[in-house]
């Protein structure tokens, strides 16, 4: 556990020294601040637009951080050959991967806290209670955790470019997983239908983690729905991280 914490803290320290992180955070904060000006162009709905743009900033910039920082976390260590020094220490390979993932989660948590906090402040300044947005932000963090797990998985066996493409592909497929159900209705052969079922079950169903619209419209979010979505996302992410650990354990370094 100490080894995982040490790798995680080191990863976090390394990430917060990365200029890409600050650039993304700055753009996200500009989007949140700018939403007040965008809202001036509307007829009614000012608060809705500030909330929507704010939550989109938390989600989209979190995704970019998860991908651009996550995909190089393991592969960079291999490329620079620092992984040999690290693995010579009393750190198991799986602890190294789990630590990298935990460090990335800390970075994502910092993003959600900073950008999300500014969204809450912006909504509060408009005279509306912002606390209804918190469950949606929590699930955005869970979704980012799933994406980060894929970034680590791909990073453990391929180069950063391919890992980024793979992670984005999973994100897109995760938001379009409903289309496999649609496709199933049009596919007549048994094998095709089974493939649709398998893909629908295996790919992350990221739409299930999206409560943004409910939060923005002030709809009551049942505790059961929230808890089920959070548990689904956390278990899914854990499964992908375990897979990444297995892949990294079996990897041979030249």
């Amino acid at each position: 556990m100490t080894a995982i914490a040490a790798v995680a803290l080191n990863t976090f320290r390394e990430a917060i020294r990365d200029r890409v992180l600050y650039l993304l955070l700055a753009v996200a904060l500009v989007v949140v601040a700018g939403s007040r000006f965008v809202a001036m162009l509307t007829v009614g709905s000012e608060t809705k637009i500030v909330k929507d743009l704010g939550l989109a900033a938390v989600s989209i910039f979190g995704l970019l951080i998860a991908v651009f920082i996550g995909v190089s976390l393991v592969s960079k260590e291999i490329e620079r050959r620092t992984v040999y020094t690290l693995l010579a220490q009393p750190v198991a390979r799986w602890q190294f991967v789990a630590g990298k993932y935990a460090g990335l989660l800390l970075v994502l948590a910092a993003n959600v806290l900073v950008v999300g906090g500014s969204v809450l402040a912006a909504v509060g300044l408009l005279g509306e209670s912002p606390w209804g947005l918190v469950p949606a932000m929590a699930l955005i963090f869970v979704e980012l955790g799933v994406v980060a797990a894929f970034a680590i998985l791909f990073s453990s066996f391929t180069n950063p470019i391919l890992a980024a493409v793979g992670t984005f592909a999973v994100y897109v497929a995760g938001h379009l997983s409903w289309s496999f159900d649609l496709l199933k209705k049009r596919v007549t052969t048994g094998a095709g239908r089974q493939l649709c079922d398998i893909l629908h079950a295996v790919l992350p169903n990221l739409d299930r983690l999206d409560l943004k619209a409910d939060a923005v419209h002030g709809a009551a979010i049942p505790a059961g729905t929230f808890a089920a979505a959070a548990v689904y996302g956390l278990c899914y992410a854990a499964a992908v991280v375990v897979l990444a650990c297995i892949v990294f354990e079996r990897r041979e370094f030249a």
């Binding site: 509307t42 009614g44 709905s45 809705k48 637009i49 743009l53 989109a56 999206d210 619209a213």
Partner: protein
């Protein structure tokens, strides 16, 4: 010296080239294609799929674009796609987004003078947001605007039935029934307002005043209709209001809200009451 100036000169030349060519592009710009650009607006369900979980913010962007688009009054054929943009594209992205329904309806009813399309948009808003009374309320006012009081009353009645709708909506139902000439129905509605235990003092005072006025209007209307029937059948005006009861045109003579008899002018056949002139409770 020349070597150090070369990059600066190259930079300035590039900037000048970009500025001039941009001005040329603007000058060569084709005349505005009217609503053709709307032909490239994708259907809401495709936009939703492409938004990858950001459908709500895409709905905001389409709404903001639509506001700018429809703020340009010089566009020819500007009303062709209003219902498509406000009633299909945006609701498919975010059906709970309230403002586009009423704004689209406002453009259709006020500018395009297309009441039916505007009402369709408001009905869609009410269907997608059954807990929002505002759509039916606005539909009621649109009908009132064209003097379709019965339809207006029906909309206000539906709005009043929405949970958490403001209690004064029932007053609008009563008002529209009165404007449409359905005085007895209006009286029934005002009595409902008066009997409502949730009603505040102001509402009760308004209801009492309206009931008093409407009672007189309804009685006078009944009496004058009976006088007209009497005249048609007997060939002369009744000499007194009692004649109407005796001839079987009325079962009994009504009294005004103060309990006094209505005044009758046999020469003109008109009926009046002092009660109709009383203001205040």
């Amino acid at each position: 010296m020349t070597r150090s100036l070369f990059p600066a000169a190259l930079f300035l030349a590039a900037v000048a080239g970009a500025t001039l060519s941009r001005a040329r592009i603007v000058a060569l710009e084709a005349p505005r294609a009217g609503t053709k650009e709307l032909l490239y607006l994708p259907n809401g369900k495709y936009l939703k799929a492409a938004s990858l979980g950001q459908a709500s913010v895409v709905a905001d962007l389409v709404y903001l674009w639509a506001i700018q688009y429809y703020s340009d009054y010089d566009r020819a054929d500007r009303y062709t796609y209003v219902e498509h943009v406000f009633g299909k594209v945006i609701p498919e992205l975010d059906p709970r987004f309230v403002d586009p329904y009423w704004l689209g309806a406002l453009i259709l009813t006020t500018e395009a003078q297309d009441l039916d399309s505007g009402l369709r948009l408001l009905e869609l808003g009410a269907e997608k947001n059954p807990r929002e009374w505002i759509f039916l309320f606005l539909a009621g006012w649109e009908c009132d605007h064209v003097k379709d009081y019965d339809r207006a009353a029906a909309y206000f009645e539906r709005a009043a039935r929405v949970p958490d709708a403001p209690a004064p909506l029932v007053r609008l139902v009563a008002g529209m029934r009165a404007r449409g000439g359905n005085l007895r129905e209006a009286i029934a509605k005002w009595e409902e307002v008066l009997a409502d235990p949730r009603g505040d003092e102001a509402s009760q005072a308004i209801a009492r005043r309206q009931l008093r006025t409407l009672q007189v209007r309804a009685d006078v209307k009944d009496l004058e209709e009976a006088i007209a029937s009497f005249r048609e059948r007997q060939g002369a005006m009744p000499r007194r209001l009692d004649d109407l009861v005796r001839a079987g045109f009325l079962k009994r003579l009504p009294l005004d809200p103060d309990g006094k008899a209505y005044r009758y002018d046999a020469a003109s056949g008109t009926v009046t009451s002092d009660a109709s002139r009383v203001l205040g409770s």
